[in-house]
Symmetry: C2
Subunit: 119 residues, 2 copies
């Protein structure tokens, strides 16, 4: 039961699109990730996904619209909703989702990671 300093944790890595586990609340994992450029279209059929922007700007494209989140802004993408994260300037985000969630929604892609490091 440690106090987690988000900036200190962010200083431990620079790789992008590789969520790092920092804690867990019941069955939901809490990740930090650095994002830069474009991710792939995907959806999580059975899990909601919360994004909280810590630094920078995150764009989330949906099939019918796009939203922009700045630092201090968050959104919950409901289960089953296709989305594509992308960011031209880069950003750092906290992500909270059920630990069973596959970050590409199961899509085989060079960006997909089988496992996530704990930091």
């Amino acid at each position: 039961m440690d106090v987690i300093n988000i900036q200190q944790k962010l200083s431990l890595f620079n790789d992008t699109w590789t969520p790092k586990v920092i804690s867990k609340v019941d069955g939901h994992q809490i990740y930090l990730a650095k994002l830069d450029g474009d991710f792939i279209w995907h959806q999580h059929d059975d899990q909601d996904e919360m994004f909280l922007v810590i630094e920078g700007t995150l764009n989330l494209e949906f099939r019918d619209r796009e939203v922009t989140l700045n630092a201090g802004e968050m959104i919950v993408v409901p289960k089953g909703v296709e989305h594509r994260p992308h960011t031209s300037e880069g950003c750092s985000v906290m992500i909270i989702e059920d630990a069973s969630t596959d970050h590409t929604g199961g899509i085989d892609d060079p960006l997909r990671k089988e496992n996530h490091d704990h930091i």
Copy 2:
């Protein structure tokens, strides 16, 4: 599926120890709360509880120690662990916990709220 600006949501209320629901990720509710002074000793037998400090300083007392969290710091209090939040200067926090969680752990106290507003 709205973008939620945390500072804008915090500007909507001033009452303390009354968590406001801002969103939900699966069965876990996401709250904002303003805290000032002392809360009561309690525990949640079956639910973990995540605290993320947005502004100010939060002290969490446990039976064997005490921790201090500043803005940008978080902790997950595991289920079954007695804790007492208190803060002399006041703070604003995000709390994430299963929607079934009773914020006083079921203890009848003047600070206990039966229901939580959605903002």
